[in-house]
């Protein structure tokens, strides 16, 4: 008997056709599958009936109203969402502008407004500096040719070097499987240094945590890059201290927000929760307060969850298992009570509308019945 049907397509049996009918009805089969199915249903009344049934189901779906049409008929919700987003962006932008002071900022502004004069000035300065520098430098060729030095992990960076360094660039080279790989940090010091390695290198850790802890000396972009690199080793006590420090004290709200976000995996630990609560109660930036709320919700979820429990047969692997809720924890853990109190305060008194909404939503998620 031929394995090909009258139209030349491979013959399929009912077991092969059945799972493809849904995809045929929504036009998601290959040409070959389509030919095989069509050839089969010409001969099989049962599969033909199945296909008609799937078609009817799709038709029914198409005639049903969608929640979106019902819930926002007039577009009021969309307008409200836009306005809230705009308000939040305004508030996020405001403190960043306050911190826009940079050394020689007035010179840069002057140069930006007078590009021709600036270009001429820079050329003249470069020429003078180049001529003078040649006279100052010794004529020894080996000294003239020095460039960046690669430092191996074994070579120690001194405290003095740390205090004088500036970071010009941080590059990431992730491994092919997406895990954190090699980091390359270019330092500007008396002698330029390129530091390569990963977070297992103590020098690498020292440099990155130093940058995070001494925020006033480094650019916010560099600090964000350091946080990105450090989050891969959040279990390390020194790194966690640096991140907590940044979450509490960094002048830039984007950096504080990033530091909080980096602490997600250890959100349920006491020192982290204290820092998050501090941000929640004291941070002036609404974006940071919202991130703190998200982190607290996560910390309570982590605390009340039962991750060690194996999934039961047939259980859905998409669903995280959380056995208890915050009210039960609140009785035994005073810090949970403090979280609930702080959220309640925020819900009532926060000047920002979105933060109030988010706190109310968080309380609905985690809070005891009486605060809902």
């Amino acid at each position: 008997m031929s394995v090909f049907g009258s139209n030349g397509a491979r013959k399929m049996n009912c077991d092969e056709v059945a799972p493809l009918l849904v995809f045929l009805a929504c036009d998601e089969v290959t040409a070959e599958e389509r030919a095989g199915i069509e050839s089969h249903i010409m001969e099989c009344a049962e599969c033909r009936a199945q296909l008609a049934e799937v078609g009817e189901f799709q038709d029914n779906l198409a005639t049903l109203p969608q929640s979106a049409d019902e819930l926002d008929r007039t577009g009021t919700l969309l307008a409200q969402c836009r306005s809230e987003l705009s308000e939040t962006l305004d508030e996020m932008a405001a403190p960043v502008e306050q911190e826009s002071w940079r050394p020689f900022g007035f010179v840069r502004r002057w140069m930006a407004l007078r590009p021709v004069w600036s270009a001429a000035g820079l050329l003249a300065a470069g020429a003078i500096l180049g001529v003078q520098l040649l006279q100052w430098l010794p004529t020894n060729d080996s000294n003239l040719n020095f460039r960046a030095v690669n430092v191996s992990a074994a070579q120690k960076i001194t405290n003095e070097q740390l205090e004088k360094m500036a970071v010009s660039e941080i590059n990431f080279a992730p491994n092919s499987d997406g895990t954190p790989g090699t980091l390359q940090v270019q330092l500007r010091a008396e002698q330029p240094v390129v530091l390569s390695g990963n977070l297992d290198d103590s020098d690498m850790r020292r440099v990155l945590t130093y940058v995070v802890k001494n925020s006033e000396r480094f650019d916010p972009g560099v600090r964000l890059d350091c946080l990105d690199a450090l989050r891969a080793k959040i279990g390390d006590a020194e790194i966690r201290d640096a991140l907590l420090d940044a979450a509490r004290r960094d002048k830039n709200p984007a950096v504080r927000m990033k530091a909080l976000e980096s602490l997600r995996e250890v959100a349920s630990e006491q020192d982290v929760r204290d820092a998050v609560l501090e941000s929640l109660e004291e941070d002036t930036n609404p974006g940071v307060r919202v991130e703190a709320i998200n982190l607290l919700v996560r910390s309570l979820e982590m605390e009340s969850g039962t991750p060690a429990m194996p999934p039961s047969p047939g259980a859905n692997s998409d669903v995280p298992m959380v056995a208890q809720t915050a009210p039960a924890l609140a009785e035994s853990d005073p810090s949970v009570r403090r979280v609930l109190r702080a959220l309640e305060q925020l819900r009532r008194n926060d000047p920002n509308h979105y933060v109030r909404l988010r706190s109310a939503a968080a309380l609905r998620q985690i809070g005891p019945a009486e605060v809902q």
């Binding site: 049934e53 779906l61 919700l77 987003l85 932008a93 998620q365």
Partner: protein, 225 residues
Amino acid sequence: MPLPQWALALADSAGKSGEHQAVLATVTALPELDERALVVEAQAGNRAAFEELVRRFDRDVLRLALNLMKRPEDARDVYQEAFLKVYRNLHRFRFECSFYTWLYRIVTNVCLDHLRRRQARPEDQAPEVLVNRQEEGTRDFFEVQREHRPALDPERSLIGKEIRTRLAKAMERLSPRERVVFEMKHYQGLKLRAIGDALGTTEETVKNSLFRATRKLRQELGELR
């Protein structure tokens, strides 16, 4: 710094002149920019360009959120959280996929997070739109349709109502991922490959989710046929 010709031309055609008006023209011309140019502008810190990007896509985003979450306040949370994530991470977007795909990846992840959280809390699951609507006595879908489609009969109306109620209940039993896949396929009309891109998974996985979701829903509606 001289303004681009197109910005000046726009200002002149509107009968305005001077630097201030020209800057306004730059802003009004943002809707003319293509998606890539807008993203580049927004990455450079142009807030107006970011807001224009939001306006291009937020209707679809809110629609997806409403269809999935079924509650306006949850959809509003999803909208805010998703666009704030986009704002904070826009500098990381490297045009390796379309902005639309990248945005949908963020939105679907936020939706999945919310749905999983909701599913983990039984007290948060009950109240979705269809149940509420019936309780509040809102008109049935087929009753609304009848005004425009006089051929529909009362029996059809009853069956339609029953199908809708059962479908809503069955949707609640889907896993968050199945629900998102089903929604994106049937109501957003996306291809399976695009859904896979948005969810950061393979087309085959999406196919499995859609198959499981459809089977569960058909089982629920089976007795009505």
